[in-house]
Amino acid sequence: MRYIGAFLKFWYDFIIGDDWTIATSIAVAVAMTFWLVHSNIQAWWLLPLAAIFTLGVSLWRAA
């Protein structure tokens, strides 16, 4: 049980870290990209924009 807890904590720290907004917004952006591409829109620009925006918001929250 202790190992399962440590395993889950590792992945929580790995993915969420100290700012849950990064993981959440990237998950949403990836899902939107997937949806747009499957709707025949080549949304290659969406993830870079999401990365720029997410980094800005995360820095702003920490500042």
Binding site: F10, F14, I15, G17, D18, D19, I22, A23, I26, A27, V30, T33, F34, V37, H38, Q42, A43, W44, L46, L47, P48, A51, I52, T54, L55, G56, S58, L59, A62, A63
Partner: protein, 237 residues
Amino acid sequence: MNGMFLILATFLAATIEGVEMMAILVGVGATRGWRSTFFGAIAGFALLTGVTIVLGNALLNIPIQWLRLLVGSLLLILGLQWLKKALLRIARPPARRQTPPPFQPMSSEKIDWYAFVVAFKGVVLEGLEIAFIVVTFGAEANQIGTAAIGAVAALVVVGGVAFLIRGWLPRIPREWLRFAVGLLLTAFGTFWAAEGARVRWPGGDLSILGLLAVMAATGFTYLALLRLHPVRTLTGS
């Protein structure tokens, strides 16, 4: 396909994937410690070898799109976390002096699972792509062994270059190194995650360079803004 031409074609294609793999390994090794990165890479190669031997040509049936989507998303999240921490620390040198965080590589007995997992994922994903190249090129010419020679040669050359620059990296200030690794992880993560979502990048693999340039410009812009409005806190380690 002529044997030499096949080796050359596989060598060139595998070099591109090898550079991506080594960029991650060298970056993680320089910032988190080489030992755990090395173990992660070895574990990745071991898994890859096992999968290649067991599956052979059936390797092409592995749903690599989903692997790209998963690994790319994780690397993108990780890259942004690293960029954030690096920018906050670079923008605030006085705080760095108050709470000195000199880099302490993990002790020789402990494994840094963070470095291990990133190295493992980088090797598995890129290595799988190299294996795909070998199987695809080799099967077409009915010479998988010959194609494998080109791929192994590419990995040896790229690995040799990575080994040579490894000693030079500690001269770079730690937070700038973290910034550079954050840029690499963000660029590769964005590229792979989007490819996993079946995006077709303009320019193919070359768009990684464009992503690096865009994220570097973004990082420097945010750094300038942070210096104009100093940050309150230092987050994370």
